[in-house]
Amino acid sequence: MKAVYKRELSACFRSATGYLFGAIYLFFSAMYFNSVLAGGQSSEFPQIYAGMLNLVLLMLPLLTMRLFSEERKYKTDQILFTSPVGITPLVMGKFLSALTVYFGCTLLTLVYAVVFCFFASPSWPLVIGNIFGATLFGAAFISVGMFISSMTESQFVAAMGSFSIATIFVILDVIPLVTDNALVVALVNNISFVGRYTPFTKGILDFSSITFFVSIAASFIFLTVRVLEKRRWS
């Protein structure tokens, strides 16, 4: 697991991917920070994270698209699957490497909190809670992207696949605004990634939200393992 983790992480920064992801993340989060700073209210700080959610959904395919599709294309999966390492550790190594890059970016937002100190006193538990929530949010979607990457050998198809799903999630949140049907609204609120994140912005560590993100991540990691396992038998 460690070998794959290290290899993925270094590959991410050997190519432009890691830097590109970091740059886009910092650019947009800085814009949100600018508006927070203008408000000067501590309670507005989570807006940085909440505002970034939809963008993060659309950006994460950048990190996940090549995870397995590239291995398959270059036939390097042959060394992975013939090495004395089980499929689950291989998948975990890849998953954690993408999560690390994303987590690194969210940690960079601490810089904003420090800057914020000069103008107002940020609520540190709120900041930490949001970084925690944003990481869970990312972990869930990274596992979805990784799953899609494991099904194709084309990075482009993998990216478009995850991108489409991300778009669906973004659009999903518009539905409650245009309908009064209580059932639909409840359903959307329950499966919406962004909706599930809302408690974190209020400083609440909502157990059901945490469970939601963790189980999504676990399910798709499991499905990725199954897809890779199944390929040996087909």
């Binding site: 070998a3 270059y74 042959q78 699957f81 013939t82 090495s83 040996r232």
Partner: protein
């Protein structure tokens, strides 16, 4: 069955039993069984699409078989994959290289992936020396030539010094000089490792392997030493005879010799005709032929016993099986 993998000549490092692989309705491997003893160099021979790569992918655990089993050093590849895979070094048809890494970084990755315990520096120096890639260790794999990539692939298989090496077409894409080097390397490796290599080039298998397994259409059609394969074909003795003369006269001469069972013309160059003769085993056949031809004043230009190349063996084996 407990000591099944041991036999009197030594321990079977690789044991393949009734291996069948189906891709939907296509049968890629059909009930293939064989075992390889410690220290043997075995060649998989067969045309493209014969099932060589599929067999290797199953032996190394990359694919699973539809039925049948594979064990490495007594460990089943499905039941105890970690133990079995620890004993394997695999060079697939396309070397599994990451173009964005340098050779050293790549070997480092493989070293960690395989969980090798040996001292890294000395081990790397040794395998790089063996694979002759010491000069390119700091270079990006992306920038290496095909020949070097193939050798990095070999080095990768050697990391951890596994007792069993599976090499899928190790000389593909190499120039003639590199092919000779690769053969020497494989022979050298054969002293310490059990090796299976595949090729569709017969002379290559002949040059390196003590034992040859011939695959065609997913079936094992022969499994023996190169010499045995020729023996199998040399049922009666066969002569190649070249003589200068009219076809009718030559045929009359041939028909007059009792020990000639069959003959057929294989080549004509002007008045020189080449015949392939099948003889009943007889000490005097050659002298009878000589006198029969000299009586008719037909000069014999050449008379030699036919030597089969592996090409002939292969074609004949495939035809034999197809007739059945």
């Amino acid at each position: 069955m407990m000591y099944d993998f041991k036999n009197k000549d030594g321990v079977a490092m690789i044991k393949v039993r009734h291996l069948t692989k189906k891709y939907g309705s296509i049968t890629a491997l059909d009930d293939v069984s064989f075992s390889v003893k410690k220290g043997e160099i075995v060649g998989f021979l067969g045309p493209n699409g014969a099932g060589k790569s599929t067999a290797m992918n199953i032996i190394t655990g990359y694919l699973s078989s539809t039925s049948g089993s594979v064990s490495i050093d007594g460990y089943d590849i499905l039941d105890e994959p970690t133990e079995a895979k620890k004993r394997l070094g695999y060079l697939p048809e396309i070397p599994p290289l990451y173009p964005d890494m340098t050779v050293d970084e790549y070997l480092d990755f493989v070293y960690e992936l395989k969980g090798v315990k040996q001292k890294k520096e000395a081990h790397f120096n040794e395998i790089c020396e063996l694979a002759r890639i010491t000069a390119v260790r700091g270079r990006l794999i992306r920038n290496l030539s095909k020949g070097y990539r193939q050798r990095v692939g070999i080095a990768q298989a050697l990391v951890g010094n596994p007792p069993v090496l599976i090499l899928d077409e190790p000389t593909v894409g190499l120039d003639p000089k590199q092919i000779v080097e690769m053969r020497t390397l494989i022979q050298k490796l054969g002293q310490q490792h059990t090796v299976i290599l595949s090729s569709h080039i017969l002379s290559e298998v002949q040059a390196v392997c003590g034992r040859i397994i011939v695959l065609n259409n997913g079936r094992l059609i022969a499994d023996s030493t190169a010499e045995h394969l020729s023996d199998r074909l040399g049922d009666g003795s066969t002569l190649i005879l070249r003589a200068v003369g009219e076809e009718k006269e030559i045929q009359a001469a041939l028909q007059s010799v009792r020990s000639v069972k069959r003959f057929s013309r294989t080549d004509t160059a002007g008045k020189t005709k080449t015949y392939s003769l099948t003889l009943t085993p007889s000490e005097s056949a050659r002298s009878e032929l000589f006198f029969a031809f000299s009586a008719r004043k037909i000069p014999i230009v050449e008379m030699k016993s036919a030597e089969y190349s592996l090409e002939d063996i292969f074609i004949s084996l495939v035809n034999q099986k197809d007739k059945k």
